[in-house]
Amino acid sequence: MGVIETGKPIIKNLNKTQKMVLASLIFATALVLAVVESMLPPPPIPVPGVKFGLSNIAVMYALFFLGWKQAYAIALLKGIFVFATRGAIAGALSLAGGVLSITVMLLLMVLFRNKISYTGISIFGAVFHNVGQFTVIALLYVGMNIWAFLPILLVSGVVAGIVTSTLLRFVMPAFQRLV
């Protein structure tokens, strides 16, 4: 891990403080990406509330190249940020989606190591981000039928996963300059 096609380790040996600073920079990037995304026009599809989740790019970078603790920390902080700015329900949604998605991506990374690509992990991450959010919505508003929404969750997850991993590929050099 910590190695992309070039074979060069991305994160050199960082001490604790450097890791913490890097994690907070990535967290800041996640917030900026979320703001940028909210300014973009929504994807031209008839389903509301579906977005690419660009801030997931930052979370994925943290998970892939920094460590799982940092990734969870970023998801938690993002949940708190959303709670403070957009309210309790939005915060719970963000937290549930983020934590479940990181957990699934982490499991895939451990289980499949070199058999799976970043894109594959990203797709599952996005799908389970949706599933986590939907679970919270279903708990809050009892009576929702998961089968009616599953197709939307899956399709939008696949698209968002491909988009975020493609973007991660291009954003990577910028992230590496943070180190």
Binding site: E5, P48, R113, T119, Y141, G143, A148, I152, L153, V158
Partner: protein, 130 residues
């Protein structure tokens, strides 16, 4: 780890096929059944309207006059006006299938499509937090 592998296409294809399958099965079970729309205002059922094709209607509920619904002549219902900031309820578009759902959380208004007649005990109450 690589950025992209051929197996990714397989993963994406399997997920898309599953979602298509779920969609088709769901529609074949519920797509044709008679439906009505229930409108909730903060957990309380305030209005139930039959969704009949051929009658166009625009209305709002007394608790929240700023939220306007429209039943189109093909028997679909949609939010068409609301004073909320994000307009998620309007963007949800037209609903006509059982289980579909649109909500305007800032105003506490929830629109839910249910089957006509059968109101089973399994249908839990909606609880909307204030």
């Amino acid at each position: 780890m690589k950025f992209f592998k051929k197996s990714d296409i397989l993963i994406a294809a399997v997920l898309l096929i599953i979602s298509l399958g779920v969609y088709l099965v769901y529609n074949s079970i519920y797509g044709q059944s008679e439906t009505k729309a229930e409108i909730y205002y903060y957990s309380e059922l305030v209005q139930t309207v039959e969704l009949n094709a051929g009658e166009e209607e625009i209305f709002s509920v007394s608790q929240e006059p700023d939220v306007v619904f429209q039943i189109s002549d093909d028997g679909e219902i949609a939010f068409i006006e609301s004073d909320c900031p994000d307009k998620v309820c309007i963007k949800t578009g037209k609903l006509d299938t059982v289980g579909q759902y649109a909500a305007c959380l800032p105003n506490g208004v929830v629109l839910k499509i249910v089957p006509v007649g059968e109101r089973s005990e399994d249908d839990p109450d909606i609880v909307v937090g204030r």
